[in-house]
C-alpha cells in the first residue's frame, strides 16, 4: 500500500519530540478523525534552526510529518511557508488517494507553527493563525481533503476522487459529507 520511502520514514522518523522553549507551536487535526500533529520550531536569523514534531495517526501521517520536518529544517521562513501538500506527497513517492488528507496536515502544522511565531513577533493577536492553514489566505485555493485536487468555489463534489464534500462553517475548510467534526478545526459540522 505504501512506498518504500513512506515505510522508511514510518520506521525511522526524523526530528521526533518537543521543544520546551519553542519559538512557535502549531497543532492541526483532531484525534477523533484519527490524525493529529504538533510541530515545534526554533527560529534564528529568519531560518528554521530546529523543527520537531509529534504525531498521533496512521503510517502516512507519521511519514508525512517526518518528511516535512526534514525538508523544513534550515529553510528560511518564506521557503518553509511555500512547502505544499502536493510536494510532500510527491517526495514520498505518492500516497494512496484516501490518505491524501494526511499530507495536507503536515505542511499545515508547520505553517501554523510559523504563523504562531510571526504573530508573536509582530505582537498582534494571532488572527491569522486562528483561521488555520490555506483557509486563512483567500488567494490560496481550497484543496480536496482526500486527493488534493483544487476545488472551485463552493464545491459539493470533488471532480477527481468523487468524494462528496461539506464545508466547515467555522474555518471554511472542506470535509467529507457525513463527517461530524471538521478535520481542520474540530468544530461540529452541520
Amino acid at each position: 500500500m505504501y512506498t518504500d520511502k513512506v515505510m522508511e520514514h514510518f520506521m525511522h522518523p526524523r526530528n521526533v519530540g518537543t521543544i520546551a522553549d519553542a519559538d512557535g507551536v502549531g497543532e492541526v487535526g483532531n484525534p477523533v478523525c484519527g490524525d493529529m500533529m504538533t510541530f515545534y520550531i526554533k527560529v534564528k536569523d529568519g531560518r528554521l534552526e530546529d523543527v520537531k514534531f509529534q504525531t498521533f495517526g496512521c503510517g502516512a501521517a507519521i511519514a508525512v510529518s517526518s518528511l516535512v520536518s526534514e525538508m523544513a529544517k534550515g529553510m528560511t521562513l518564506e521557503e518553509a511557508l511555500k512547502i505544499t501538500n502536493q510536494q510532500v506527497a510527491e517526495e514520498l513517492g505518492g500516497l494512496p488517494p484516501h490518505k491524501m488528507h494526511c499530507s495536507n496536515l503536515g505542511a499545515d502544522a508547520l505553517h501554523k507553527a510559523i504563523e504562531n511565531y510571526l504573530s508573536q513577533q509582530s505582537g498582534q493577536q494571532a488572527e491569522k493563525a486562528e483561521k488555520s492553514g490555506p483557509a486563512a489566505d483567500k488567494d490560496e485555493p481550497f484543496h480536496c481533503p482526500f486527493c488534493d485536487f483544487i476545488l472551485p468555489e463552493n464545491a459539493q463534489l470533488c471532480a477527481r476522487c468523487q468524494v462528496k464534500l461539506i464545508r466547515c462553517e467555522h474555518c471554511g475548510e472542506y470535509n467529507r459529507e457525513g463527517e461530524e467534526t471538521c478535520r481542520h478545526c474540530g468544530a461540529g459540522l452541520v
Binding site: 522518523p13 521526533v16 484519527g34 509529534q54 504525531t55 496512521c58
Partner: protein
Amino acid sequence: MPGFYADKQAAAPVRPEVLEAMLPFFSQEFGNPQSLHSVGQKAARALSKAREQLARLINCRPEEIVFVASGSEANNLALKGLALANQARGQRVIVSAIEHISVLRATRFLEKLGFRITQVPVDGSGLVSPEKVAEALTPDTVLVSVMMANNEVGTIEPVTEIARLCQSRGIIFHSDAVAAVGNIPVDVSALGVDALSLAADQFGGPKGAGALFLKKGTKITPLIDGGLQENNRRAGTENVPAIVGLGQAAELAAREMAEKSARLSRLRDRLIAGVLGSLDEVILTGHPVNRLPHHASFCVKFVEGEAMLLGLDLKDIQVASGSACTSRSLRTSHVLTAMGIDPAVAQGSLVLTLFDGTSDDQLDYFLENFPPVVRRLRELSPLYTKYRQEKKDVHG
C-alpha cells in the same frame, strides 16, 4: 522468527483435509450438478453430501440450506429476500446497531424501497438486550436481525431469547452467525431462528462459500434470478469445489469443536492477560466472559490502529484494527461508536483472532514484541505527551 498470525477472521489457511476433498472437483469431477448425465450427477451427489455435512453441524434438514458465495451474500439474501417476500406483514425491519456492514447496508437499500429501519442500541460490552428489542417491536415489524457473535469485539449475543420473543409475536428472525458457526455450538433448532448466515472461511473452509439456513416454510425472494439451483432460491452454477470444502470443514468443525474451543480460549485468556498486564491505558473491548473463544480485542489509548498494524507487521505479526485510518472509508468503527467508546480511543482499536495454527510459542513472541511497538508510537504521540503531563500535574 516464529511470527504470529492473528487475523483468522480476514483469512485462515484451508485445512489440509478440506483442500484434499476439494481438489478432485476442479478437473476430474468437473460436472455441473444440474446436468442429468452421469458426469453431472457425480457433482450433484457431492453437493448433497456437503449439504448433509453442514446440516449436521447446525442441526437442520439438508433442504433448509441455501448455498451462497459469502457471508455477505447470505446476509443480503436474508435481509432483502425476507423483507421483500413478507412485506405484506409490515415494512419495519429491526437490527442491532453493531451488525456487520453487509446487514446495515442491506437495510439502507430497504429504506430506499420504503421500509422503515430501527437500530437497537447496545451496552458498553456490545450486548444487545432482549428487552430493548422487545421495546422496539411494532405491529408492522416484519423482520428482526441480530447477530450471533460480533466480529469486531467478540461478544456473543443472547440470540435464543430474542428468537423466542420474535416467535411469540410471529415475526421472522434472522441471525448473522458468520463469526460463530464452526467456532461455537450453533443449533438452529434449539435457537429457534428462521434464518441464519454462515461462511466457510471462518472455520477452516475456503473463501467463496457460505450458506443461509432457511427454516422450512419461510418465504424468501431470491436476489439472483435464473435457473432453479438451490431450490429456486439462488440461481447460478454452483461452486462445487468450494461447497465441497464447506461441507468437509463443517464435518471437521462438528467433530473437533469442543477440544479446539477449549484450547483457543486458554490461549485467548493468556493473550488478554498478557496485553493488559504489559501496558497501561489499554482496554479490553467487548464482553469479558461471553465472547468467542478465538477472539481478543482492545483499544490502545494514544496510538492509532493502522500505525500499530504496520509496526507489528514489520515484526511478522498480523492483526486487524477498526480504526478510521485502517478502513478505506476513513470512518471509525460503528461497533465501537455504538458501544459508547470515545472516538479518539476507538482509533487505537486492535482485533486479534486466533486459529488452529496458533501456538503458545507464537503467543510468547507476540507478548514480547507488542509492548515495544506501542511504546515507540506513544513516544511519537502528542496525546501521550499531554496525558503524561496531566498525570504529573495531578500527582505533583
